[in-house]
Symmetry: C2
């Protein structure tokens, strides 16, 4: 089937570009002796997780217990739930996953670690713990000075074992040498404190896609957890971690209405998500067939495209491809993805971990 | 089960409030002799569509052919696909729906009507057509002066029959008497032109939730298609069409991390959607347990809540309910909805038409 024959809106992935993205990061991790533990939230696909493992990934990362249940099917050697787990329903499911595969949870409080330990005791499983440290984003994570005390307490809790440190440098949207140096200083001191206290972390895990190729400059870092790099998106381009040509995913849409200098496409917030660009700039995506077009507004099923500076005009019924601002949330809105090569649909895969809110 | 026992994040609906919302609008429509054809995009549930029909709805509205396939199960007397339908796959599916129920499509071009007529001929079905008119939003729709010519051409196409006019006054976010008067003048003149030309529209259909209770002031209007009114949301409150107490839907979340004056809840853009308020104001939802809290930022799985002006503090593991900015896109992110009454979960229903992008 030709790409142009797909019904719209459909999420399509250029397989050549995706494969190059996967290789580039696998090679970078090998070159710098960093463990690569990709965050699967971007693709949410068991098949793509398997490809990441085949290329040398040391494990996988997920955000939710329900995602862990899905990704256990990819047989990761080491599965990280990068989110504090609360409540009996989630703890029960987590212990079930821990029977099938080696699991660690990233958390930042004893209020989270204590019930986790109790659940692990009840279920007779061992669960690893990574202490989450806030390195500047102000989201989850203890302050660096508090990490050691929390880790020491956790190390003494039954059926938990302290495995190391996690952080997410999400405050670094456009890496500079100064930002990377500050991050490195924080991490280096943190790791030194743990060594001095006789509790050396087995793993020191950080790294987002924007800061990805600066990871080797962060002293003490042993693992990276990028997610977006498999597809990339406009935010990744603006971060400097890739070029537009490295964006593998786009959304195929149909022009459904036109007026002079303007058109409506059949994709809106239900198709792209309404995530803005991290730069704060306006616009909801880049049209591959007319990069000068301005995708300025969305309703749920309608995309508003200003063509006054576009390279060409469009007629109703024509199909156009749009690179999204933020591919992770866009993937979550689609049931399946079409892998394309040279204008042909080569494969289709299900978004296995779509939804999975709990 | 108690509401507080639900795993999070979960979408909950206060059944007393929802039932009052349904009755209020059904009564309003009856009082003013307006056909009520609710847009099902808000709830996406066959069961709730049946309740709307039981309360007197003359039919249902959907945005997509795949939604029409789902909502045909509610046995509407008249089903409107309020979106131009393009491409053989969608046209084939639409003709299948047309065998099961009376269907009309809202469209704004001959480029859309001609293949629709051809598909109807091939499949030996009759399909109604509503001519979509742009009354100010600048989305889909012909200009009022062009509507008659398009309708006359469509009326002559085989297996299509012209049934009337649709418009969506989405530009009216906060109705004023002047805005409603301008809309009424446009619609009144339009309808008069059709009567003068001997092509009286059977149905003149408009009405969004924000402008809902002004519908009786629009001369010539015979049908309203509100969607959001069943649940309401912060945008509806800001439009003046409801109060905060009329918001039936909220999202139950858990506090997963705290620091002084701030907390993180386990719902972000994957749970609420990243739709901003139509007023342009900041904030991603209103916390029922602390209305002074400011839900200022979201990542996919994290909600950032500033508590510096909140009525109370929170501990990790506590559950809080949040009214979303825009409930339609939030419902689309959930697999199921929990109907609650008096602190207890009374029923749960599947979001039957979730996704359904094509």
């Amino acid at each position: 089937m030709l790409v142009q024959e797909l019904d719209t809106p459909s999420l399509i992935v250029d397989l050549d570009v995706m494969e190059a993205n996967l290789r580039r990061v696998a090679d970078y991790a090998k070159q710098h002796s960093l463990r690569l533990r990709p965050h699967t939230k971007t693709h949410k696909s068991i098949g793509l997780a398997r490809r990441q493992i085949a290329l040398g990934a040391a494990g996988l990362t997920v955000a939710k217990v329900t995602e862990a249940e899905v990704m256990a099917a990819a047989n990761p050697a080491d599965l990280l739930v990068a989110y504090p787990v609360f409540g009996a329903p989630k703890l029960r499911r987590l212990t079930e996953v821990a029977r099938r595969t080696k699991v660690a949870v990233a958390l930042d409080s004893l209020a989270s670690a204590t019930p986790l330990s109790e659940a692990a005791v009840i279920a007779s499983v061992d669960i690893g713990v990574m202490v989450e440290v806030d390195v500047g984003l102000g989201r989850v994570g203890v302050q660096p000075a508090e990490a050691l005390a929390l880790a020491q307490t956790i190390a003494a809790l039954p059926n938990l074992h302290f495995r190391g440190l996690t952080f997410y440098p999400g405050h670094i949207k456009q890496p500079t040498e100064a930002l990377v140096k500050a991050l490195s200083d924080t991490v280096e001191k943190l790791v030194q404190d743990f060594h001095d206290a006789g509790l050396p972390p087995e793993i020191v895990s950080g790294g987002s896609t924007p800061a990805l190729f600066h990871s080797h400059k962060v002293k003490g870092l042993t693992e990276i957890r990028p997610g977006t790099y498999i597809f990339n998106d406009l935010n990744t381009v603006h971060s400097g971690a890739c070029t537009l040509e490295d964006c593998a995913a786009s959304i195929l849409t149909t022009v459904v209405s036109t007026r002079p200098g303007h058109m409506i496409i059949d994709g809106g917030s239900k198709t792209f998500s309404s995530d803005r660009l991290t730069t704060g700039a306006a616009g909801h995506g880049r049209l591959l067939e007319a990069p000068g077009a301005f995708f300025h507004k969305m309703n749920e099923e309608h995309g508003f495209v200003d063509l006054s500076k576009a390279e060409r005009s469009f007629e109703v019924g024509e199909k156009v491809r749009v690179i999204p601002n933020h591919v992770c949330v866009a993937v979550n809105l689609h049931e399946q993805v079409y892998g394309v090569r040279g204008g042909r649909v080569e494969e289709a895969w299900k978004v296995d971990a779509r939804g999975k809110l709990q």
